[in-house]
């Protein structure tokens, strides 16, 4: 998929050099933030072999809750944020109960989506919009970390990564496992390149935008949890073979519930970041292509619809691919059809690749 991304960038760059300008790359990053955060939550649900259609609308509801409490009721921002996250998790908790009861998640969340579309009308005040312009709520998106601090953060993150790798290296040596220093040097160099390259690009204008930091921190936590912990192994086990996981004593139902709760929290954050960027919440918050883009991002990035395969990076990668297409189309002033055609095609190709990888062939029965 990195290749696909490179091709997309090359094509648009050849049409318009402005495509890879610092300014446009920053725009692109900010455009994909909402999709990436939501896709991250979707990845957790896909990994246990479920699906969700309701989280985009839920993100609108959560944003309405947060904006209503902070802007209209005047409560402090952290209270609003906490309430939104709690609301997101509560809604997902209810839906997960239905899923664990045996109703297919596709149906539960389809129904949930419709119900939430009604709920947002209830949560919003009678005029059906909340403007957050000029309020502390707007600073979620508008705040920026000064370039100097950003570089320092990148340096600290790189050092932490190197230290963690060294720690693992020494652990492996202590039990006589194979361990090679290249497993430290190469990834560390890569991490440093990405972090400093990213900070360099994104601080050209007025420092590192806050949403970028939010995404980065969420990805970091998700990476640790899914790849380094027992929870992570169980997450993949449940997606790989529920029966086997159950027999191994893994609480399958609880793992499914956890995934939905993670998605609920991600939806809340995505909704608040989006509302803060759009300077308001309205009936249409979370509607439109957001849901499909988030699912498409996860799948295009390489997370399987059949569960058990994929990684949290697919959220970022897929969101980048999809965002890059729409950004390029808009930059070149092409018509919207082109964007839909290209995004749809990339999605279908990605799913075809997924099916081939999972089943060995596109058509069942052929080997």
């Amino acid at each position: 998929m990195l290749v696909v991304l490179a091709i997309i960038w090359a094509v648009f760059y050849s049409q318009s050099p402005a495509y890879l300008s610092f300014q446009n790359l920053t725009n692109l990053t900010l455009q994909i933030v909402t999709t990436a955060i939501l896709a991250l939550g979707v990845v957790f649900v896909l990994l246990v072999g479920e699906i969700d259609l309701s989280s985009a609308v839920l993100s609108g509801v959560c944003a309405a809750v947060a904006a209503g409490l902070t802007v209209n009721s005047g409560l402090p921002l952290p209270v609003g944020i906490a309430a939104a996250v709690a609301a997101g998790m509560a809604v997902m908790f209810v839906q997960a109960q239905a899923v664990m009861f045996g109703v297919p998640s596709l149906i539960v969340t389809l129904g949930g989506m419709v119900i939430l579309q009604g709920l947002i009308l209830v949560v919003l005040p009678p005029e059906f919009t909340i403007s957050v312009a000029g309020t502390p709520f707007a600073t979620i998106a508008s705040a920026a970390i000064p370039a100097g601090t950003s570089y320092a953060l990148a340096a600290v993150a790189t050092l932490a990564f190197v230290a963690y790798r060294l720690f693992q290296y020494r652990e492996r040596l202590s039990t006589g496992s194979l361990a090679s220093l290249t497993t430290i040097i190469v990834p560390s160099a890569l991490v440093a390149a990405v972090l400093f390259g990213g900070v360099f690009t994104l601080t050209r204008q007025r420092g590192l935008p806050m949403p970028v930091l939010i995404v980065a921190v969420m990805l970091l936590i998700a990476w640790y949890v899914t790849t380094q912990t027992r929870y992570g192994i169980h997450l993949y086990a449940v997606g790989g073979d529920r029966e086997a996981a159950q027999r191994a004593g893994i609480p399958v139902r609880r793992m499914v519930l956890y995934s939905f709760l993670v998605l609920g929290a991600c939806a809340a954050v995505a909704g608040m970041v989006d509302a803060s960027r759009q300077l308001g919440v309205s009936v249409t918050s979370g509607s439109g292509p957001l849901m499909l883009n988030a699912i498409a991002a996860a799948v295009v990035g390489g997370t399987s619809l059949f569960g058990g395969r994929g990684s949290i990076w697919s959220a970022l990668l897929g969101a980048l691919v999809i965002g890059s297409i729409s950004n390029g189309v808009q930059l070149l002033g092409l018509s919207t059809e082109v964007q839909y055609f290209a995004t749809g095609s990339v999605l279908i190709i990605a799913v075809a690749v997924d099916v081939v990888l999972t089943r060995g062939a596109l058509l069942p029965g052929r080997r």
Binding site: S174, S177, T229, R230, I233, Y236, G240, D241, A245, G249
Partner: protein, 268 residues
């Protein structure tokens, strides 16, 4: 310890080591609705002994496995582990009693690698503040030791097990059972889906379990397997134990007629 056992109906002169049986079933019965799946079945397994459980389809073999692996509970009768009465109410309870079962489908997660499968559900992990960080190096080291003890050869511990051969997968499933160092290992049809060389591999594995002094129960339909590895053969038919033979004390046709009831061998 515990010499309270009255003389057993079966195996009066068991060839195995003179020790308390690791596992003992006494007059165990199990009904499913109106179906009599097991009727007053006795079974003993000694350390370092391979007991084959044979019988036609529906004879009750899988039911017996389910009882001793804690999946089902017997209606009547008693299960004893190392001479002590045992309540095997759940797979976990059976595992804690030292009984591990390798089901026919192996129950491996195809998308996980060998180490993750070996430790699935019993991962070695760090404290809660670390988010229960998996101690991969410890697991890898232990995995390598267990795999080596049964001479299971894998090219890499990090590839998903879906890419491995049937014999290797069976090997991983058996090694997984060994992680908790069980006294009794039960295998349901371990060679059913395997080719000739892999079948030999698995039979060797079972031989090594015996050398390690474990009690082994093998369910098999394959008379060659049974002849080759079993120290004792227990024949079930329609839920009752109809015959029992020691190694070398039977001919293949005797075994088959006991299974099918062609001409009754002094029992039932």
């Amino acid at each position: 310890m515990t010499v309270d056992s009255e003389p057993q109906l079966s195996d009066p002169s068991d060839g195995g080591p003179h020790s308390t049986p690791l596992l003992e079933l006494r007059k165990v019965s199990k009904h499913f609705g109106g179906v009599r799946a097991l009727h007053e079945v006795d079974l003993t397994v000694h350390p370092g002994e391979v007991v084959a459980l044979v019988g036609d389809n529906g004879a009750g073999k899988s039911t017996l496995v389910k009882l001793v692996s804690g999946v089902e509970r017997p209606d009547t009768g008693e299960i004893r582990v190392r001479g002590q009465h045992a309540r095997l109410d759940s797979p976990r309870a059976a595992a804690e009693a030292g009984i591990r079962t390798i089901f026919q489908d192996l129950s491996l997660c195809d998308n996980l690698d060998a180490v993750q499968n070996l430790f699935l559900g019993q991962e070695r992990h760090g404290p809660v503040w670390s988010g229960r960080r998996v101690r991969r190096h410890v697991m890898e080291e232990q995995a390598r030791r267990v795999l080596e003890s049964l001479s299971v050869k894998l090219r890499s511990l990090n590839t998903p097990v879906v890419a491995l051969s049937g014999g290797q997968r069976q090997g991983i499933a058996i090694c997984r059972a060994l992680i908790s160092d069980p006294a009794v290992v039960i295998l349901d049809e371990p060679t059913a889906a395997l080719g000739v060389s892999q079948r030999g591999e698995v039979l060797d594995l079972i031989g090594r379990l015996r050398e390690q002094g474990r009690g082994v129960v093998v369910i098999s339909h394959d008379m060659r397997d049974v002849r080759q590895i079993a120290d004792r053969v227990v024949v079930l038919r329609l839920g009752t134990r109809v015959a029992e033979y020691r190694r070398g004390g039977y001919t293949p046709s005797e075994l088959v007629s006991a299974m099918t009831g062609a001409h009754e061998p002094s029992d039932d």
